[in-house]
């Protein structure tokens, strides 16, 4: 590689100057041939672990494509497309699974070779009927009562998506700083505890009460996340282990509290809290025909906030730097401990928003199922959204749609709700293996096989040593 330092003449192409895409040092990567698809540039020749967050969401535009590849091919082999294809693939496999358990399909399989078209039609019907029902339960139900009834599924989707989005943001933000926040579940629970207590124990006028509930919930989640940050910064304790343990602590603490006089509803013998005051509940956005509440708008606001934080603020710069390369961040003077603590606090607060949405938005009571499975679904949402704020938003909507539609799907076609969980899990699987997805869809960049070397008759695998 030679680059001369004489002044460049604009017109004449300098034969010594390589285009940027060819001028990189070639470091021997361990047998990874698809250098096009970059999950991490910064492995320092193998000295680093590749970052968990896909490179395309970290910063800066990535280098221009090699000239041979057409624009279309670039689009189709890029990261975003892989995500969409992963979802598509998971849906296809889910559809096959639905078909396998369908009665009609079973019957037609019996005479498969006599009339194969019956079998194929049955498979197609089983899958599409279920997915159509899913859609009708998630977005638009043409048989609903009036316009309001027809859009009810969409409203339901948005309602269910609300806690998924904010908790997902909590996980995504931490990912960007290099931390695995598996503790969203515990953060939601702690937020729920504090928010619900303020909601049913205090009796304050309308605006203030709700504000206080919100603040209490966010603080609950923030503190629960912040402690993890402190432990990580001070002692190096791995946040995965700490957050998982904190999830258990929060859960059992919740169960304990629901047995005490402070929290248990008077007269009830099940662990349930008093109902939250009406002044402490989120107002409904479109009136009482739907469940959609203020929390959804807060989720949008949270997404905007996280997007600004990461991309436009000095704090976000620090977070991203620490997540991408903590050693370089340290050498440049960034206070890595402080960044760790701050990011976990903010992430906990975001997850806490989900807890508030549950307590003040949909449930209005505190039970030991307040967090449901949102804490863990949040991790999947963040992953699908590739840890970018709006990606997480979209992923949250998608999973909300799955959840909302699953019920309708079960009612209409008898397909068990769990199929949706299978599809969700398959999505995660495929997201984690982009080369697999690309291989299935034939999108891998063209590779020339080793020409003659592998094909001569004499190609002994141990060489021709005498």
């Amino acid at each position: 590689m030679s680059e001369n330092t004489e002044p460049r003449s604009a017109a004449a192409p300098d034969p010594d100057q390589l285009p940027a895409s060819q001028a990189t040092d070639v470091e021997p990567e361990p047998l990874e041939d698809a250098a096009d698809f970059v999950t991490s540039l910064d492995t320092a020749g193998g000295a680093h672990q590749p970052s968990a967050v896909p490179v395309s969401t970290q910063s800066g535009a990535l280098p221009g494509a090699p000239e041979e590849e057409s624009l279309l091919r670039k689009i189709f082999t890029g990261n975003g497309i892989v995500t969409i294809l992963a979802v598509l693939l998971a849906l296809i496999l889910g559809g096959l699974l639905i078909a396998m358990t369908d009665k009609v399909v079973g019957t037609t399989a019996g005479y498969l070779f006599a009339r194969p078209s019956d079998f194929l039609i049955a498979v197609w019907s089983a899958a599409t009927d279920s997915y159509v029902a899913l859609f009708q339960g998630a977005v638009f139900n043409p048989r609903g009562n009036g316009v309001a009834g027809q859009f009810a599924p969409l409203m339901e989707t948005l309602t269910i998506a609300t806690p998924l989005i904010t908790a997902g943001l909590g996980v995504a933000l931490a990912f960007r700083a290099g931390l695995f926040n598996i503790g969203a579940q515990g953060q939601i629970i702690m937020a729920g505890i504090l928010a619900s207590w303020v909601g049913f124990a205090l009796h304050l006028p309308l605006g203030i009460h709700l504000l206080l509930v919100l603040v209490a919930g966010v603080i609950g989640g923030a503190v629960w996340g912040g402690i993890v940050g402190v432990l990580k910064a001070r002692t190096g304790a791995h946040e995965v282990i700490v957050t998982i343990m904190f999830n258990y602590i929060a859960l059992y603490f919740l169960r304990y509290l629901l047995d005490t006089d402070l929290f248990q509803r008077p007269g009830a013998d099940t662990p349930i809290s008093p109902i939250v005051d009406p002044s402490a509940a989120y107002p409904l956005i479109f009136g009482s025909q739907y469940r959609l509440h203020l929390g959804f708008l807060l989720a949008i606001a949270a997404t905007v906030f996280v997007s600004w934080l990461l991309n436009r603020s000095t704090l976000g710069f620090e977070f991203r730097a620490v997540g991408a390369n903590p050693k370089a961040a340290l050498t440049a003077g960034i206070n890595v401990s402080r960044a760790t603590i701050l990011v976990m606090t903010i992430a906990g607060g975001l997850a806490g928003l989900a807890g508030v949405a549950q307590v003040a938005g949909t449930e209005k009571v505190l039970t030991d199922g307040v967090a449901a499975t949102y804490g863990f679904d949040a991790i999947t949402v963040a992953l699908l959204g590739r840890s970018s704020p709006w990606g997480t938003f979209a992923a949250g909507l998608l999973f909300g749609a799955f959840r909302a539609g699953a019920v309708q799907m079960q009612i209409q076609t008898g397909t068990p709700i769990d199929i949706v969980l299978v599809v969700q899990s398959l999505i995660v699987l495929f997201i984690a293996a982009p080369p697999l997805v690309r291989a299935i869809f034939g999108l891998n960049p063209r590779k020339k096989k080793a020409a003659t070397a592998g094909k001569t008759k004499q190609a002994a695998t141990t060489g021709g040593a005498a």
Binding site: Q22, S59, L62, P63, A450
Partner: protein, 584 residues
């Protein structure tokens, strides 16, 4: 003690144990990574018993070629022929079975195992019942050790051995597996000049026993000293062959593709008052070891102090301690009277210290961040890039444009990821970042490691410019050529201690001895002795070509030869071999 084949050749080997020879040919080897062509139709023939050097800059594709040969990569096109028969390697196991051994740049040894255990690893001999038979391995090690004069104890722990000996263990590993072709990948990167000479002797020994050697390097001096033939590789292609008689300038031009100037045009230093002082500095590592042990020195404004020494003798820790990255630091570091020990990294940087770390990809740059963001990595929270907590991307890009132009960073845009830049350009970005604010001290660690020749020229000029601007400059480098070229004064570290500070112009051999721990006076005396011994036995006219900037104490008549078997002369071309200094 290593036998030095001085006047006579090595003792005749027992022919029954002679290594069988092997002819290796690489035909049309092409290796692509996506669109990047690392090797482009490369043809190399290695005759039996030949030392064949592959010469090329970092990034030219030499290591990739060797990885193909060793079975770590499958070639996209082309074939490998052993004794004129094509072979395919599915992995290093196949290559080893075929008689190809490789000594990697970064040793593949288990530090807590003994030599015998390391040599046995992967090819263990077992007794009945599956019990490990290390005695057999020990025997083989001793045999090889005696044959070549390695002097390696099979039961020594690797981590206790010096680097030069560890390298011999790597060579033994290959020989035990009956290697007929030995690939040495940049073997001298971690060696002192004396160790290097010993290694070159070993190579000659091996050659005389029939082993072929493929010697990968970018260091012209060594290449010329030991090769039978040189193949020059540039940007993945073979640009030609040369024989070792070619001049260094010729070889350098072939490597780079244009005429190169191998010496730096440096105005003499004009040092003023000493503003940076280190007093009795000790840095204690987590394991209790004193990695820096009671060092004191000062740097004046307008001078370059180069800290020389083999990698791992405390230089890294010294720079890190100055920056504030180490916790257990004793002693004092003052800049313009201000104490730096105990301050945070940010405070040190804001006090006017510019720091270019030795491993730019590890702690200098964030590869996934854009070039523009990397250029403000230490000032992202200051005006004009940020107001309070809010950053201004426009200002960041603007700054990037200016710096990219100023430092001639070859990139289409400042928003591209820094990881896409070549090594030289990455280093320019790090330098640009540090040099773009007023500095009261500039520290650059291994400033041109892994950097191409054109960028080296630029960076060296820039460093000297900073010095002429009146800033105290501290360079840490394991490349003796770079040290000699840049320094106004040279400080040598050995095992955390300061061996001595000598003026620029001190001879290579003196410096080499100091790097091995010998005090400056002894080193100079020793070197003078060797000079005289050589001048007594060699052509007296050769003395004129010796380094004229010798040592003041040199007086051939008074210091007769002390060593009956003096070291093979290290080439004394002043300032040459500065091409492509960097090593990994």
């Amino acid at each position: 003690m290593l036998q030095r084949p001085y006047a006579s050749g090595p003792s005749l080997p027992d022919t029954s144990r002679l290594v069988r020879v092997l002819k290796l040919e690489l035909k049309g080897i092409t290796k692509r990574f996506g669109s990047l062509v690392a090797n482009d139709h490369i043809d190399v023939v290695v005759e039996p018993g030949q030392i064949h050097c592959l010469l090329g800059e970092n990034g030219a594709g030499k290591s990739t070629l060797m990885n193909v040969l060793y079975g770590l990569y499958e070639p996209t096109e082309g074939e490998i022929l052993i004794d004129d028969k094509p072979v395919t390697f599915r992995g290093p196991g196949d290559a080893m079975a075929a008689g190809i051994g490789m000594v990697h740049q970064h040793f593949m040894l288990v530090p807590v195992f003994t030599v015998a255990e390391n040599v046995a690893l992967g090819a263990e001999t077992t007794k009945t019942g599956g019990f490990l038979d290390l005695d057999d391995t020990r025997r083989k090690i001793r045999e090889i050790s005696d044959r070549y004069g390695f002097d390696v104890d099979p039961d020594a722990l690797i981590e206790d051995l010096p680097v030069g000996v560890q390298q011999r263990v790597e060579i033994i590993k290959a020989l035990v597996r009956d290697a007929k072709v030995l690939i040495l990948d940049e073997p001298t990167a971690v060696l002192t000049p004396q160790d290097t000479d010993e290694l070159l002797d070993i190579m000659r020994q091996l050659k005389s026993h029939g082993t072929s050697i493929v010697f990968i390097s970018h260091k012209l001096r060594e290449v010329k000293a030991v090769s039978d033939t040189i193949t020059v590789i540039r940007r993945g292609k073979v640009v030609g062959s040369a024989d070792p008689g070619a001049s260094t300038t010729e070889l350098a031009s072939m490597m780079v593709g244009r005429a190169v100037s191998l010496t730096l045009d440096k105005a003499p230093a004009n040092p003023q008052e000493t503003t940076f002082e280190v007093n009795n500095l000790t840095v204690i590592a987590p394991n209790g070891q004193h990695v820096v042990d009671g060092i004191s020195f000062g740097i004046a404004r307008g001078e370059i102090l180069a800290v020389a020494g083999v990698q791992g003798n405390g230089q890294t820790e010294l720079t890190e301690a100055i920056l504030g990255l180490h916790e257990r630091v004793h002693g004092s570091i003052t800049l313009d009277g201000e104490e730096l020990v105990g301050r945070s990294v940010k405070e040190v940087l804001n006090a006017g210290v510019g720091f270019v770390p030795e491993d730019r990809s590890l702690d200098g740059l964030i590869g996934t961040f854009s070039i523009a963001e990397n250029l403000i990595l230490d000032r992202y929270d200051q005006a004009p890039f940020a107001k309070g907590i809010s950053m201004s991307p426009a200002k960041v890009l603007e700054n990037a444009k200016t710096r990219i132009a100023e430092f001639d960073v070859r990139t289409p845009s400042g928003s591209l990821a820094a990881g896409t830049l070549s090594g030289g350009n990455q280093q320019k970005v790090v330098m640009a970042r540090e040099l773009s604010r007023p500095l009261r001290l500039f520290i650059a660690s291994q400033p041109t490691r892994g950097v191409d020749v054109g960028s080296i020229e630029f960076l060296h000029k820039r460093i000297v410019a900073e010095r002429d601007h009146g800033t105290p400059v501290m360079i840490v480098s394991t490349e003796l050529d770079e040290v000699i070229e840049l320094a106004d004064r040279i400080a040598v570290l050995y095992k955390g201690r300061l061996v001595g500070i000598v003026p620029a112009g001190t001879g290579r051999d003196v410096l080499g001895l100091m790097m091995a721990g010998v005090s400056p006076d002894e080193a100079q005396a020793d070197a003078a002795g060797r000079h005289s011994a050589r001048s007594l036995s060699e052509n007296p006219a050769a003395n004129a070509a010796e380094n004229p900037a010798g040592t003041p104490a040199e007086n051939p008549a008074t210091k007769p030869a002390m060593n009956p078997a003096p070291a093979a002369p290290s080439v004394q071309e002043p300032g040459s071999g500065a091409v492509g200094d960097p090593h990994e």
